[in-house]
Symmetry: D2
Subunit: 263 residues, 4 copies
Amino acid sequence: MKDVKVLIIGDIVGRPGRYCLRDLLPKIQENYEIDFTIANGENAAAGKGITKKAMNSLLESGVDLITSGNHIWDKKEIFKFIDEERSIIRPANFPPGNPGNGHQIIETNSVNIGVINLSGRVFMSSIDCPFQKGKEIIDKITHDCNIIIIDFHAEATSEKMALARYFDGKVSAIIGTHTHIQTADEQVLPAGTGYITDVGMTGPYESILGVESQAVIDNFITGIPTKFEVAEGKVQFNGVVVHLDSDNGICKKIERIQDLHEF
Amino acid sequence: MKDVKVLIIGDIVGRPGRYCLRDLLPKIQENYEIDFTIANGENAAAGKGITKKAMNSLLESGVDLITSGNHIWDKKEIFKFIDEERSIIRPANFPPGNPGNGHQIIETNSVNIGVINLSGRVFMSSIDCPFQKGKEIIDKITHDCNIIIIDFHAEATSEKMALARYFDGKVSAIIGTHTHIQTADEQVLPAGTGYITDVGMTGPYESILGVESQAVIDNFITGIPTKFEVAEGKVQFNGVVVHLDSDNGICKKIERIQDLHEF
Amino acid sequence: MKDVKVLIIGDIVGRPGRYCLRDLLPKIQENYEIDFTIANGENAAAGKGITKKAMNSLLESGVDLITSGNHIWDKKEIFKFIDEERSIIRPANFPPGNPGNGHQIIETNSVNIGVINLSGRVFMSSIDCPFQKGKEIIDKITHDCNIIIIDFHAEATSEKMALARYFDGKVSAIIGTHTHIQTADEQVLPAGTGYITDVGMTGPYESILGVESQAVIDNFITGIPTKFEVAEGKVQFNGVVVHLDSDNGICKKIERIQDLHEF
Amino acid sequence: MKDVKVLIIGDIVGRPGRYCLRDLLPKIQENYEIDFTIANGENAAAGKGITKKAMNSLLESGVDLITSGNHIWDKKEIFKFIDEERSIIRPANFPPGNPGNGHQIIETNSVNIGVINLSGRVFMSSIDCPFQKGKEIIDKITHDCNIIIIDFHAEATSEKMALARYFDGKVSAIIGTHTHIQTADEQVLPAGTGYITDVGMTGPYESILGVESQAVIDNFITGIPTKFEVAEGKVQFNGVVVHLDSDNGICKKIERIQDLHEF
Ligand SMILES: [Fe+2]
Ligand SMILES: [Fe+2]
Ligand SMILES: [Fe+2]
Ligand SMILES: [Fe+2]
Ligand SMILES: [Fe+2]
Ligand SMILES: [Fe+2]
Ligand SMILES: [Fe+2]
Ligand SMILES: [Fe+2]
């Protein structure tokens, strides 16, 4: 059977990120013969949170499923649609009773793809244990899925690698998000799970994590709160493609994508 | 005038890291025609701190100057030799009165190279401001140095990029260390400073940041303190080479190096 | 029916704390006509953790049940006896699978007293939610207990008050521990739960939280790791007495105790 | 010479705190024969920051000098008047270049009172070292002041006690603020400095640190951002009075004040 090629795109930041996706995604999907596209959308609306409009923009550009992270509740609009919306998930280890879902199984013609969103806890808010909650969900969905992919939205490299080695062989790929900087450690772990510590960001290139630089620098130097605006100019596209064997769920290859786009 | 090529090597972890350096460094220096070699040695002794023996091993392998970070005081032996030792520096924004030096100027045949070690504060210990202390030192040494290189030992991607953009054009290169994961964002910033968020780690490949995996995983899952040992097996070499114009200090190129070594 | 008077004693630090207890506790129990005595023992062995010997010392001095907190695993010996030991509990919201128990029901002649140990998460390690885990246990044991007391081992005043107001009326008393400084906000909350943000510490008075002062000061100023030793000299006793109506579990009065002891 | 009696009032929260002050302060000043009144005003305007109107309200109620802390920049209006305003100070160890002053010397008929505002760093933002900056200022003003008082706005009990023991004998009193919970450890340290870990809060009594409780509880349980409003109902007054010998600056007595006010 042919490989399933899944594209995972790093945190999309604001309008620049969304427009970059609109302009570049179709071509990238074609070039890499992508079967399924996941994108982290926690910063899609003006850099913080996601609105229905921003969500629809991502879906229309060709994203199949949107994952998220700590910024998911930043725009209040989200509470109106996340419960009914099958195209967006939030970290599964957020407290019980939180709106929305933490994982989703998508049935394509050929395979069932389970996608789990988890969030780290080191240097982040206190939530439920991602190791434990991840295991619970994997155990529950593993028989219904040919492949399982985790978006692990976390800060600390230690927690990311630990979770990856813990689930190595249990899922097809574990893709880190949240730091907005792509790492160069893409690899297939010993038991067959594709891994990268962070897939990076899709947003303004001349910026600090997508944000206009001077405000961030001033904030670091003075400690005085400044207003963070999404930066302008050239936009970077950051993603990874994992080549997955749908018979056994094993990752055969993981490759990084970086592109620069000017409007 | 010919370019000055400086190699910066990511945190060297334990004996595997030191032996990897001993075996690979001469060849790498030759291949890349390296003029000057800097290595972060904060984990050189059994993964925590650095001893005189570990220091000498790095120097004998071809390192010209050793930088460090938060683990520098882990081995008590350091207090005996850091004050007299010109080959090792520690973050300059550590509290006043700390032993050792935070920067060093090395006079080679052709150029004077200033190396500054700074540490971040986000998700780390409270120390003096790296932006301010960095500026102070740059202002002081800039007239005596053809090129200045900063090892910014920090956790948060935002702080690293912010410091880099703040000093863009003031120094030749800003190389991040501490996360032990190499990033894929190497670039020459608009005003000519070479930059990478993290150069990575030189140490055990099948590990979590150099440490034997199971103990780290257990610690994350149970919260119970476990003993961290440096892992065994294959060793990775992580570094970057910056090509610097010694006339104006501008970075013309930055390239990542990754190598895998088996003993 | 007569009130049940429960004494709760703040973190006992090292030998000075244990000896203070041995010398003062019988008299205090007599003066206040105490029915049941709880003490936090996480620092009973040399300031970090608890050994069998330290535990026995507390029990022999008249403590009925020992609670604990983040330092419970500091002495490895604990793993040998915590599973069988009914006289010591550790935070119930520690990860599943941790040794020991998070609550205990003690049957006295007249009443069944449930004691729950919980730990906060703000500025502390990431563990399970104390609000949720606390609710779970309360729901489970409430019908078997005339009174329930919580030792909430936490740092942040906001988290402590929030948990107290959340469980107001559901338990008889919520007593904070961990900061080693007694607070002056003892009160009966609107629905009848006795509360104090922190009961304080039983240990060396001329100290920083029980530790010899100079080492702590040096550590703050230099950032260099120093060795922390339990201080000497006069010892303070810190506790609270809650007067509980055993018919309805309501707290009628909460009073602070501070004493100074010289050997 | 007669003692100088200084009243220090804990963080004043919103309109309830301001009105409480207006109604109670004159009487308290009379009863305790207060010579000088300091109040922490960082939460005076709707619980976050301080406006000119809120500042004037405090001054008109009888406050002589306003100190502050981490919330000082929350209301943008502050930047318009803090530079010229002699009645308000902000932590002296905020980054150089920050608007406003970190200490003030007030000349009364009989004595010169130096007041220094410092902020902690443990569990708080990274700023300059309070030990070092405090020492700098004390050294500078000690010859011009009969008495010096420090408002140490900090979270961790360890940092507060450490700073107090470090400056014991160098200043007349060190009064902690920020946690909004009064502690019961008021004492005169061995070398004559009056100390309390936290003076507490002047604001709504049935609340969580002055804030309406349910929103805080919901935030802890769900992790979802909620809107924090200043609570209503009864208001507590929290302060301490230090009795200082103006000849040698030594603290002879420190007493806590708690009052409850209903409008
Ligand atoms: Fe993001
Ligand atoms: Fe994020
Ligand atoms: Fe390191
Ligand atoms: Fe480090
Ligand atoms: Fe303790
Ligand atoms: Fe504790
Ligand atoms: Fe406050
Ligand atoms: Fe504050």
